[in-house]
């Protein structure tokens, strides 16, 4: 067929530099008219940056060319992207939970046509027509927020159709759907494809991917790894294309530790994680990895008392402990450095000194509850010295410190408490390579001193550099355990994204 060779989208030589980071470098992607095309890559490979360029949210660096059909488009804005027929369905759908289904579908048309008045009849007619085109039946006057996620997604697709979208971009569209809902979505995607609409589909779930796509493009670490027809690709080949970011960190020798400090047995929480069991040893760094949304953070927060589990038991030093709050956890000798240190780990408007003593206050007060200045100063000075925080000024407001130094303040805060168990969640997210290497060294030093550390990280090179043992989580379960000395990025990624299929192969 002639139209099969026609491209609805061509992006050439797309680069994007953020201050200090090259997020994308020389990416190409071409989507044919009427094809389902997958964009595949690890967490942080640059997929969402690329989508934001496509939808006009970000401007690419010089030298980029974007063609819609045969026309080159420059200075793309979000409004222009919509006008060119690009519909991006974000994971949150960007719908209005308080409006009716009909309104949600018709809203774009109303804005596009710059209407001053709304006609309810016209909105309902348009919504009914569009839903009929998708072949689904949804009550038009229902408030959207009361629909299931799957139905809300169909509403989002219907809305995209109202502005004659030529290319629908779907970001992880199956992540919250049941098997039968995925089937329905795929049926709809196929019928859209047959009517000439192209779909760019971002997903981690390789088994699903192969069921629906025509071609796929792989990016790794912001670079183009090629575009392949489905039939030329298999799981193993795809994974080897996706992973393999250069290891730029010092790789520490791995240790075997045998003295259990924390045992987690059958920990479960509906919708978060299921039947998680593992043991952490004294002096060990236990890496926990997996895709975003695999339940890692939820699981470690449960251990720290911030996310009450439905079932399961914890043992510290062989004794069962019941932890229902973060205070309990701290008392039991657990420290937690959260992923979002800005939100959860620091009081940003307060001084560095005040932040450093946040969890040790009890020990620094006299019997009347008043803070003893000498004790406080000692903790603060020790913290600043040990973590080499710069500038070494205890009065400095934390919000003015660099990201790496903020992270060190959070670590120092917990070290003053000398916990037996330290949980760090994505400790090097958003800081530069030099600062990352320092954090790695600090974590290793702490473990040498006997602390058991749980390191949650998406960054496989980081996990492989410092973790002695590695757990991979997938959809809320521990999918596999690896020895830090022998594991490879491919193995970890296969476990994280494939689950059952690769398990059969092994």
């Amino acid at each position: 067929m002639d139209s099969a060779s026609e491209y609805v989208l061509r992006m050439e030589n797309i680069s994007k530099t953020f201050p200090g980071v090259k997020a994308l470098e020389g990416i190409h992607i071409e989507v044919r008219k009427g094809e389902v095309h997958a964009l595949v890559g690890e967490n942080g490979a640059g997929k969402s940056t690329l989508i934001k360029i496509l939808s006009g949210v970000y401007q690419p660096d010089d030298g980029a060319h974007i063609f819609f059909g045969n026309e080159e488009v420059r200075d793309l804005t979000p409004v222009e992207a919509v006008r060119q027929g690009i519909a991006v369905i974000y994971q949150d759908f960007s719908l209005f939970p308080n409006l009716t289904v009909a309104e949600n579908i018709a809203v774009s048309q109303n804005i596009e046509k710059k209407r001053l008045f709304v006609s309810w009849k016209q909105m309902r007619d348009q919504a009914a027509r569009t839903l009929a085109r998708l072949g689904v039946d949804i009550e038009l006057d229902q408030e959207l927020g009361r629909l299931s996620v799957a139905r809300q997604q169909l509403v989002a697709i219907a809305r995209a159709l109202t502005y004659e979208a030529q290319l629908i971009v779907m970001d992880e569209p199956t992540s919250a759907l049941s098997r039968s809902e995925v089937e329905l979505l795929f049926t709809i995607m196929r019928s859209l494809r047959d009517s000439g609409i192209s779909i760019l589909f971002i997903s981690h779930k390789l088994d699903e991917l192969f069921a629906i796509i025509d071609r796929l493009t792989v990016i790794r670490d912001g670079r183009y790894m090629g575009t392949y027809p489905r039939d030329d690709m298999d799981n193993q080949k795809l994974i080897s294309l996706m992973v393999g970011r250069p290891v730029e960190y010092t790789v520490y020798p791995k240790r075997t530790c045998n003295d259990p400090v924390l045992e987690v047995r059958n920990l479960s929480k509906r919708g978060n994680f299921f039947d998680v069991s593992f043991t952490l040893h004294r002096g060990e760094i236990l890496g926990v990895t997996g895709l975003v949304g695999a339940g890692r953070t939820e699981m470690v927060q449960a251990i720290f008392g911030m996310n009450a589990p439905d079932a399961g038991t914890l043992f510290i030093d062989g004794k069962e402990v019941i932890i229902t709050s973060s205070e309990d956890a701290v008392r039991s000798g657990i420290g937690y450095v959260p992923e979002n240190r800005l939100q959860e780990g620091l009081v940003l408007q307060q001084s560095m000194g005040n932040n450093l003593v946040l969890v040790t206050l009890d020990a620094l007060t006299n019997r009347f509850g008043a803070l003893v200045a000498e004790r406080k100063n000692k903790v603060v000075d020790d913290g600043i010295q040990m973590m080499a925080i710069r500038p070494a000024d205890p009065e400095m407001t934390v919000s003015k410190l660099s990201g790496g130094n903020q992270q060190r303040v959070v670590l120092a805060k917990w070290l003053a408490k000398s916990p037996k168990i330290l949980i760090v969640d994505e400790p090097t997210n958003g800081i530069d390579v030099g600062a990352k290497a320092e954090i790695h060294k600090i974590l290793r030093d702490l473990s040498e001193a006997g602390m058991g550390i749980i390191l949650v990280s998406s960054e496989l090179p980081e996990i492989l550099a410092i973790a002695d043992r590695i757990l991979v989580m997938r959809r809320g379960r521990i999918a596999g355990e690896f020895d830090g000395a022998t594991a490879t990025q491919e193995q970890l990624m296969s476990k994280a994204i494939l689950g059952s299929i690769s398990e059969h192969q092994e």
């Binding site: 960007s94 809203v107 709304v118 009361r146 919250a176 098997r179 809902e181 959809r475």
Partner: protein, 342 residues
């Protein structure tokens, strides 16, 4: 045809039933309550509250709030009173000046909230203080007494329709001020229901990010919302002056709470995105009946404040609890489907 979701309908039904129950209790204790002249009295005494509440409804629907409306309406009455005392009592001119004053103040609020992107409660707390300060500085806080209000305007204020005998032998009727309430109801309802402005109000209140991505012009809507409220506050200021026929700059101290309370009691979510004109009508009626009923039942006016405060907390917490429940239900559905894949 206007269609609503079950939740909204039931919310308003609940408010209506509470209203009926309170009316019943008050009537049993003091039958004067349902005397037509008392009803007309309730209408008259709450016109200002009602007109302002519809403006506040639109503000709250966007997820905003305006605590400066008390200061605004006080200023409008002072401007209008002095205008009549010094310039003219011409009705058209008086309304123009009153509405114009309210509109300017509302527009400034909207501009600050939209452009500075500071939360509305902070901005309007600031403007409340500024407006009161400026008003007292300029006027010296002097009353405009009744003899300085032109006769024609006093006459206008006394106009009633129909003939209803009062309990003590006089006669009254449907006050002319009530027409402004009907007008405010009609305009607010039509704006919210049939214009894109109205839909953008709901859209912003429902999800600001989605509204931005969909291409709604958020700044413009926010400014228009506070401007609309200012216009209604201006109208309310003139209406108030026509009722009391004198101007006391302190008459509206704390009035913003009554206005916000009426909207919230009427089922509007303080978080934005849900609420209705019908609900606000019922909310105003509830406050009106509570105020009047507690007087007729000879309950101390201090108790009135306590009771209204309790009712507000009850109404808001029910709203928040319900929202949390819905969210929980939603996550549970997601979980079940996610587990279904396993």
């Amino acid at each position: 045809m206007m269609r609503r979701t079950g939740l909204l309908r039931s919310k308003e039904l609940v408010i209506f039933l509470v209203l009926v129950a309170i009316c019943g209790i008050v009537t049993i204790v003091n039958p004067v309550f349902i005397h037509p002249s008392n009803i007309m009295d309730i209408f008259l005494m709450n016109t200002v509250l009602a007109i302002m509440a519809f403006g506040m409804l639109v503000v709250i629907l966007t997820g905003g709030i305006d605590v400066s409306v008390g200061a605004m309406v006080a200023t409008v009455t002072m401007v209008v009173g002095n205008f009549m005392a010094h310039v003219t009592g011409n009705l058209f001119a008086v309304f123009l000046v009153g509405i114009g004053t309210g509109a300017i103040l509302g527009f400034l609020n909207g501009l600050l909230i939209a452009k500075l992107r500071i939360h509305a409660i902070v901005v309007t707390l600031g403007t409340m203080s500024i407006i009161y300060g400026a008003m007292f500085y300029i006027t010296g806080g002097e009353w405009v007494t009744q003899e300085r209000i032109p006769q024609n305007f006093q006459q206008f204020g006394r106009t009633v329709f129909g003939h209803i005998p009062t309990v003590n032998g006089g006669a009254t009727g449907l006050p002319i001020q009530f027409l402004f309430v009907l007008l405010a109801v009609a305009v607010t309802w039509a704006l919210l229901r049939f214009t894109m402005f109205g839909r953008s109000v709901f859209a912003i209140g429902g999800s600001r990010i989605s509204a931005e991505r969909a291409g709604f012009r958020i700044d413009r809507t926010v400014i228009l919302v506070y401007l609309f409220e200012g216009i209604l506050v201006g109208t309310a200021g003139v209406v108030h002056t026509s009722i009391v026929r004198q101007v006391d700059p302190n008459a509206f101290n704390g009035f913003e709470l009554q206005v916000i309370a009426a909207v919230v009691l009427g089922g509007a979510s303080i978080l934005g995105g849900s609420g209705s004109v019908l609900g606000t009508v019922l909310g105003v009626a509830l406050i009106a009946v509570l105020n009047n009923g507690l007087i007729l039942m000879r309950v101390s006016s201090y108790w009135q404040q306590i009771i209204i405060g309790l009712v507000i907390i009850l109404a808001v917490s029910m709203d928040i609890i319900q929202k949390r429940r819905t969210e929980q239900r939603q996550t549970r559905v997601d979980v079940e489907t996610a587990e279904g894949i396993q």
